[in-house]
Point group: C2
Chain length 388, copies 2
């Protein structure tokens, strides 16, 4: 399955973006819409303090149908109480009126600072007439949802007779159980909502749920998919594979563009007692500040990999069976540092993707961790970031 060189929206989907004044400059409001109601599914953050759009979105997705997504950046509408819930509903209502569709068919998302109310007057002016600007170019709407991302993220690929497109944003406060990550997926294939839900859950488990930029779990994370049926039916399994590929690519793109990141880190664990242990070990390695700074520094500090595996005190680990590879080079054998050429590994670490493979030698459990290195850029970005 090849990604399109020039990503495009599937048939019947269009989008638009505006600067409505929530950010001091740049696009901050995006609308995505299908020309007909679409089957839909969504996953949301598991944080105990979900944003108002997540609370409303959870209700709204129960119907299994959506026709549009309205999203803003810079303010997340989290920890804003009952007023926030009303603001989220109003945001969707305004978009529904502009599109001339039912309010219940609009999902809303907000991403950015927590604890501030949305500037509803600006949003109202911004949404009015936005439906009239809908276009097939996905890039402006991808820009409109960016926060600390350095680039907009859109990818698409062919599946059966149709197209699958993902538009995403991420960058920080990202960890499993979803992230300050918004990913909207669109397809013109025909699938029922329950098939979409199954496929989305499964694809997320091996992509977004493996993603951790800083171990912090956002209060706004949303992954939603809309299928409008214009391109006809598709086998469930074929679609599920395409969705997995698209979600994994988007998750890696988000990691690569993590705040301050210079390198993507991919951790694969095999031979775990079960998948739960596999995922926990992968997560521990990809989240370890000492592994992350090691990757940034480009030094093959094998001890830090062992430490990170070993700190999973709740996992079944037999130290004498553990092996690990760094960029394909065996650096740990039978739980001990292997004989390898540090200069060669140092050279191999000087790439934009770093692969760490861990073999636990206990069973068939596997796990994947997707993350990035930890650099001064992350500190500068997050120490300077102002909440007011």
């Amino acid at each position: 399955m090849d990604f399109h060189d020039r990503p495009r929206l599937p048939r019947g989907f269009r989008c638009a973006a505006r600067h409505c004044g929530i950010k001091s400059q740049g696009l901050d409001l995006s609308l995505f819409a299908s020309d007909v109601p679409a089957a839909a599914a969504a996953l949301f953050t598991r944080n105990h303090f979900p944003g108002a759009p997540v609370v409303v979105g959870r209700e709204r997705i129960r119907g299994g149908r959506l026709q549009a997504v309205i999203a803003n950046s810079r303010i997340s509408n989290v920890a804003t109480g009952q007023q926030g819930i009303e603001d989220a509903r109003t945001m969707a209502l305004l978009a529904a009126r502009d599109l001339g569709i039912a309010e219940e068919l609009v999902l809303m998302s907000s991403t950015g600072v927590i604890g501030e109310r949305l500037p509803m007057e600006k949003l109202e002016r911004g949404i009015m007439g936005l439906a009239g600007e809908l276009d097939t170019d996905p890039w402006p709407a991808a820009r409109g949802i960016m926060t600390t991302d350095t680039e907009p993220k859109v990818l698409s690929l062919d599946v059966g007779g149709g197209t699958l497109t993902a538009v995403g944003k991420g960058a920080g406060m990202i960890a499993p159980n979803m992230a300050t990550m918004l990913v909207f997926l669109f397809t013109d294939l025909e699938l029922p909502a329950n098939a979409l839900r199954r496929a989305l859950r499964s694809a997320s488990l091996d992509s977004f749920e493996c993603l951790s930029i800083d171990s912090d779990t956002s209060t706004s994370d949303t992954v939603a998919i809309l299928a409008n049926g214009h391109a006809g039916a598709v086998e469930d399994e074929r679609f599920a594979s395409a969705l997995e590929v698209a979600c994994l690519r988007m998750a890696e793109w988000v990691a690569r563009d993590g705040e301050g990141a210079t390198k993507l880190i991919r951790v694969r664990v095999e031979g775990a007692h079960d998948d739960g242990d596999g995922r926990r070990v992968a997560r521990a390695v990809v989240d370890s500040p000492l592994v992350k700074t090691m990757v940034f520094g480009g030094d093959p500090n094998v001890g830090r990999i062992l430490m990170a595996i070993g700190k999973c005190v709740e996992c079944r680990i037999d130290p004498g069976r553990v092996e690990a590879r760094l960029q394909g080079v065996t650096v740990v054998e039978r739980g001990e540092r292997a004989v390898f050429d540090p200069a060669r590994v140092r050279h191999l670490l000087d790439q934009d993707t770093v692969e760490i493979d861990v073999f636990l030698g206990l069973g068939d459990g596997r796990g994947l961790g997707i993350g990035c290195d930890l650099t001064e850029g992350y500190i500068q970005e997050n120490a300077a970031y102002s909440s007011s």
Copy 2:
């Protein structure tokens, strides 16, 4: 209980340190010894890849008696296999011979780079004659165990008719389940090994087990206590309280001197469903990179505190009951951002200790988190740190 202005060793304890050449410069080998065998207890890392000194130490502490501790810095003797175990035993044997005591009465510790063998010839030369240099000044031996610490750490206080002294090192790769942290405690009081063990476990639970500098759990962490009895008996409870105070002070000192740290962060959670939830929430807040960078930046970003509490998906949390204070100022009420003066809180954050108090409103569970801010200094130190 007041700490001594000039910390001192208890009666019958002396120590010495040398530069034996493991570090390129500076003291790298320390010996602590009692003039008579002492009752002893110890706690070790729970990492699945314990260093050789931890493996041997666990056997040795079963007897409940020690007379000396020999420790080196720069190389940790971790992931060194059977040879590492032999090296650890040899290190203790050399010290025992020099002191003229039984090998089983010597505990050994090594801290530093993982995966390298100890330079046994240098250690042998370094240990030979060291017993002849034993002295009552604790500071050189505290320096000899330093790795990335910026200062040696010794504290002491009076308990009953005796003295309790702690010598520690820390700085990075520190998280609950113990840390790259070595803390040796000495007292001239008389306590049986099982009372020492109980008191040490209890005191660690509310101090070292709450300490997290970077969420990474070292493979070498050791906290050991020796009681030689010269000052006579003491009530168990009285000693336990003093030990708690000493351990907490040492844990906070280690956090304050965390790699790159400029501020100590103290998180207190109350009203949790149980202590387990309380500790997990405290840990999540004190470990959150976004909270840590917020403290460094001095910005009252309330959303990050809510996010960190909320990401404990396995804990019982009722968002509407959550309250939080930052430097004593209520910043979260009923799960929402409270009305407060950001400029005032920003001013209050400009101190060397930052207090975050969380009230969950559910039960009597409590938790403490001790940590530090995350700065460019941590990245620079750990990206530049070379394993070879």
